[in-house]
Amino acid sequence: MAGSRGDERAWIRGAQSGSVPDLEALFRHHWPRAYRAAYLVVHDSAAAEDIAQEAFLAAVRGLDRFDRRRPFGPWLHRIVVNRAIDWSRSRALRRELGDAWLGLVAAPASPESEHAQTLAAALAYLSPEHRAVIVMRHLLEYTPGEIAEALGLPRGTVNSRLRRGLDELAGLLEENLQ
């Protein structure tokens, strides 16, 4: 089956020994979720592209040291989500400092996507920290324990953020998300 754990190990082994097709298979398999996770946290397609791309570049740099027995996804997603949170925080800070005179020039979201219209729009009302745990739980399907480890948070904090974030999101999305 394409994308199984065995495939992933083979791709990593191949990439470590110089195989471009194996690296591409690994990239194509993980790109959609990495990009989607970044996008749902930052709400800026250009920034999401940069964040996901840089995570893969970090993966390429660390490829030789990567332990093939461990899954690739959690390692990649941890980088993506933490960078996305950092990016969102820094953008919020810049707004507080008053760069309105520059005009906001972030690439506008394409209107045709369901994400742009519903889920992403609703997530935008939450804080980056709440967005991140919800995205990790429901898009990337990690357990609260795994999220806590990836984000360096106590498990109770993850649970409370999930609960509050989902309550708020449920109100915004009404029937779609429950």
Binding site: L23, Y39, E49, L57, A106, A107, T118, L119, A120
Partner: protein, 371 residues
Amino acid sequence: MKRWDDPAPDERVAGDRSWEVVREAYEERIRVPRKRDWRPVAIVAVAAVVVAAAVTPPGHAVLGSLRDAVRGERNASPALVSLPTPHSRLLVNSAAGTWVVQSDGSKRLLRGYHDASWSPHGIYVAAVRGHELRALEPNGAVHWSIGRRGTIRTPRWSFDGFRIAYFAGPTLRVVNGDGTQDRVLTRDVRPGVSAWQPASHALAYVNAGGNIVVRDADRPTHLAVIRTRLAPRQLQWTTNGRLLIAVGSHTIGIFAPRGPQLRRIDTGAATIAASSVSPDGKSVAFIEAGPDQSSLQITGTGAGPTREIFKGAGIFSNVVWSPDGRVLLLDWSSARQWLFIHSVPVKRIAAVSNIRANFGTEPSLVGWCCP
């Protein structure tokens, strides 16, 4: 929970673009696992060639004639003591870093920087250090920096100072003037050439196909794709933004803002080494480089003849206008001189020699600031 599986905006195209970047980084990693330092071998080889040339009678004659031919202007000042335009400043790149030269002749080295350029009013300098683009004051105080993968080069400020375009590896990026909102503008680009249209955030650059693209940097909008065979190595706008000047190896094309080509100046076999549009937008000065001599030419952007302003042996590297448009500064690199050529036609030339002694190796003029 079906909508978690919906693709995010631009997911696929962003993936395709990013795969190219990741593949390039990966292949680079495979290709150059270790570096061998070939410099000692190269130095020995070059030294052998020079010695061989110098000790043979024909070689001796060639070296002698070159030295005699490229002696530059006589009565040159041994040092740059002032600039002819008050309250102006020069920017000079060199192997040691970037020099900021004040109108009183005092100068400061921003060590380790390269590819510097002025902000619109000369308050800041955008320059590259390692893998970072930095905005700094002419005194060296860094305001912000941003790190990027790949070689960073040719930062250019928009005319209102709110945007900087620069190349990072194979991509053209744009960042706000305060260092925020850094983003990829395009990967369909030939790195190294870009120019902001005045009074707008329209950026002209050369795409991978060699055509000129004019694009709004704030929106995903191509304002124009101007098809040309010029293979431009330099793009400049007139200050009113009504003309775009594209300089190829042997041709200068003058275009309307969104095309078409309005005028074409061909130099035949001579190569165009550099060019500069006058501050009033009415003239273009350019350097024609022949096999053993160079000449400085000037022509109108609208119409009119092309006139030779100055001719000399060896290589002219660059030419820039003073901010008031009254002086042309010509970098006569093989004579190691700068010539301040006052008004057109030639009335007076003030030469400064020992440029390499003043600025170190590989000095190159960048810009003369500011209106």
